[in-house]
Amino acid sequence: MARDEQTAKWIELGMRGDETACAALFHIYYPQVLRLSLGLLNDWADAEEVAQDSFVYAFRNLGRYEAAKSAFRTWLFTIALSRCRNKRRRKLLELLPLEALHAESVPVPREVEQVLERRGLRRQIWQAIQALPSHLRETLILRYLGEMRYKEVAEVMQCSDRTAEARARAAMDALRDALKVTGDATEMALAELSTW
């Protein structure tokens, strides 16, 4: 049975309150929603909370899901994105604006740090993503961490495909600039140290 058909069957059973079907959906989609939430919230505990909240909402409202309109994953991501936005808004109010805006001060969650280290990736790329304006950050995360096509990104963000594509391009430009600045700053700092 194809994946989509199987998903449709689980959704149908889930609507009738079948625990096994809901558990199957959860096991497939939870890691994806969690990764997306982590990218959007930059905090493991918050990401877990939001991902679980999203599933609680989704299972209670399975009847509202319209398979003809979007894929189940797109629907889940839309729910998660909305919750992440609310969570981030509440958290930003608790932070000093300058702290929130300064890219260098963006902390990298331990879980992400480990992954980056293991793969030999720079932590600056994560920090640069987190420092992007929200609409660009969301686009980039949906596109790359969510592995979505522009059409799907557009569905989740409720904008046109062209807008999604333009935002992804703008996000990439901003990321390039941010990484260049960080790279230059690191080089300058190293050069200064070598003169001591």
Binding site: E19, L34, R122, W126
Partner: protein, 130 residues
Amino acid sequence: MVSPLAPEEQELRALAAAMKGMRADARPAWPKVWARVTAGAHPAVSRWPTMVSVSALASTLIFIVHFNLVGPFHLPTVAAQTAPGPQESLRLTATQAAAQTLPVTISTAVPQPGRVGTPAPAPLPPGGHS
């Protein structure tokens, strides 16, 4: 010919691939999630308590409004606010106050016919006592 990816994009793709390897075990989270789904009552199963409480509240409100049970708690209307209050109506000007202190004489005189302000007696019936 496929254009080579920009270094940032390559790095992003590598990041996405790396994130896939991150621990995201759904098993420990599932019991908590399902408990919350069912604790709040699955909508298909038990939406009725909410519906009952909403309809009970609505009927109570309709009953109160219909029988005007909130009359004593009405807020003052515009007319009531503009009309002088009981204290204000008792307040007298100096002239009024002086007038109030004048001795009041109560007339005990029997009204005399023909005098101004007194009603004329009714005429006697024919053949009546003079």
